[in-house]
Amino acid sequence: MLKFLTRTRHHGKMDITDILSWLWLTLGTAVIAIPIAWAMLSSLKTEAEVNSFPPSLIPQSTVNTQVEGYDKDLSVWQWTKTDGETKQVALVRRIGIKATVVDMDKPEKTFQVPISEITQLKDVHFQWQNYTDPLERFDFFTYIKNTVFVTVVATILTLLLNSMAAFALSKYKFRGKNAIFMLILSTLMLPLSVIMVPAFIVIVGLNLADNLWGVIFATVATPTGVFMLRQYMLTIPDDLIEAARVDAASEFRIYWRIVLPLCAPALAVLAIFSVIWRWNDFLWPLIVLSSPENYTLQIGLNAFQGQFSVEWHYILAMTVIALLPVTIVFLVLQKYITEGVAGSGVK
């Protein structure tokens, strides 16, 4: 590891540029990782722990124990005597600066110590209820279900519709083809934020307001998808299609059984992007959806944090749920994603 970190392009010495480079990379990694890691760690803390300040790094909870003669569990404290000797005791009550404690081995006798001499014992504890409670007590299960539905259906439709358009634009000759292609490409420059008001009015006109299909239909035709697939299909030799025609395959069959399977790599890249786009979508679902039973996870999470802004232990747990699928997709397929972005400039 050390050898890896200290190796340079000029063998042997490490100059100032190398040091600065590594400093930049280390610092950048820390700046990126720390807030995310912090949110993840905090999402596993108990409500009391989340709200305590200064915060603790590792999720902990107080240690409690049962002591003979007491109905309730008592909390365990570390008692550091003035002579430096330490002992574990259970706290009975605390009044002012004095604490009444009991020796756990000899529970019949209580004694008093100054509270400055005792510190509470804690052990590592992951509060998984932060993840299960919102699913049971709030609507998060519905939100997740809706998001999965939108993501899956929109991705399938994205693949089908855009590959059909790309097939038409790459393998057929018909009047207006170039005009249609330019028209589709021009929408690449037109952001949702400019047309969101009339787009919503169209949704209302189609009776799709507050409906998941309204979220889906507006997003499935993407110029990026058409462009990406068209470029790929141009590399498929026309002879292959001609041969199929000689064998009396219908045009639709050629699309479905020949062209589509050959486009698998490009389709896979588009599928990855589509899943990430739809899972993360915010502004459009925010406009279209209005009742909580139709919320997607992003909209539901945003509404929840507005309404229950003090329940950070739940907010953070659901935030982690919202970032998890994308993170897993990225960990598995990072090569395709970074190359796809660098190659086509899409996001």
């Binding site: 700046v31 949110a39 057929y172 083809k177 639709f252 935030t319 972005v341 190659g343």
Partner: protein, 329 residues
């Protein structure tokens, strides 16, 4: 698992045979080449409904008033929406405008765009150059720097809201170093700083990748020749890398401007809707609020603001296309 997918595929294939039947009939009617119309049709229908029609509607609505949603119920008001939006004592002072929120949003967006575009460009350039020097671990660090791009704006907003909270990690560090506890997102200038900071954090990786692709397109032998001449790496950057990368950087810069003008999602989540007060209210938020979340839904006014923003973006896009063409030669 394999059996299941094969099974699902056979069902799908059978379904597609039914879909095929009418297309065969159509193919006999119109001929092979015109089948292209059929394949492109579903896409064009959706584009027409959700892109082309809205563009027309945005312009049409901008010239109508009232609060009715349907266009035939709305009175034609000519340029009134525009003149009201642009009615200002002084454009430098939003308080002197009829729609002071719109001009506050314009001012905020202007400053955000300037700072965010500059900050992102500088950080992404440095990161790309540093990544390009690496011989090992390049893919790893590239992935680390790109990762935030894939997160959702809500996730990013909440992660940072938690980090900057009153009892958050940053305040713990500040107190530890002897500083004073600050509620960052409730102070005007701090909140503006963090909105820009979080945006750079969020989107930098995307622009890093694009600049990195540009760096890798610079022929290696130029550097080899410079090295033979004993040119220092620092000098190589200023004399070779930067001049050769400038066309690329200009395109990236304009792309950044286009993206920055549309700031909304993560800033909206982070600042609880543009706060404190209107310190972080941007143009898209103004449009959103005017059309969707105020009690009186002024679609005409929101459309007029959209058209104005659209024109600004169109100008930037034309500049970008022109720069991109120039960069190719």
């Amino acid at each position: 698992m394999k059996n299941l997918s094969a099974f699902l595929f056979s069902i799908l294939d059978r379904f597609m045979r039914f879909v095929e039947l009418p297309t065969v009939y159509l193919q006999k009617k119109i001929g092979v080449q015109r089948m292209g119309y059929l394949f492109v049709a579903p896409n064009m229908v959706l584009f027409s409904l959700f892109v082309f029609l809205p563009v027309g509607l945005a312009i049409a609505y901008a010239f109508t008033g009232g609060t009715n949603m349907l266009i035939w119920d709305r009175p034609f008001v000519g340029l009134e929406n525009f003149s009201r939006l642009l009615n200002c004592g002084s454009y430098m002072n939003p308080a002197s405008c009829e729609f002071d929120l719109f001009w506050t949003a314009v001012h905020n967006t202007w400053w955000y765009t300037l700072l965010n575009a500059t900050g992102t460009l500088v950080m992404a350039l440095i990161t790309a150059v540093v990544l390009n020097r690496l011989t090992k671990g390049k893919a790893l660090f590239r992935s680390i720097f790109f990762y935030p791009v894939l997160l959702s704006p809500v996730v990013v907003g909440l992660i940072w809201k938690w980090f900057l909270a009153r009892d958050g990690l940053l305040n713990a560090l500040v107190l530890d170093l002897g500083g004073e506890r600050t509620i960052f997102l409730l102070e005007v200038w701090w909140s503006r700083f963090w909105v820009v900071y979080v945006s750079i954090w969020f989107h930098m990786g995307f622009f890093t990748l694009i600049i990195l692709a540009g760096l890798q397109a610079i022929p290696r032998d130029i550097y080899e020749a410079a090295k033979v001449d004993g040119t220092s790496e620092w000098r190589q950057f200023w004399r070779i890398t930067l001049p050769l990368l400038t066309p690329n950087l200009l395109v990236v810069a304009v792309l950044l401007l286009i993206r920055s003008v549309q700031v909304f999602d993560e800033a909206w989540v982070l600042t609880d809707g543009g706060g404190p007060g209107t310190a972080n209210t941007f143009i898209v938020q103004f449009i959103y609020q005017t059309a969707f979340s105020s009690e009186v839904r002024l679609y005409g006014l929101a459309s007029a603001a959209s058209v104005l923003m659209g024109l600004a973006l169109l100008a930037l896009t034309l500049i970008q296309v022109w720069l991109a063409k120039k960069a190719e030669y």
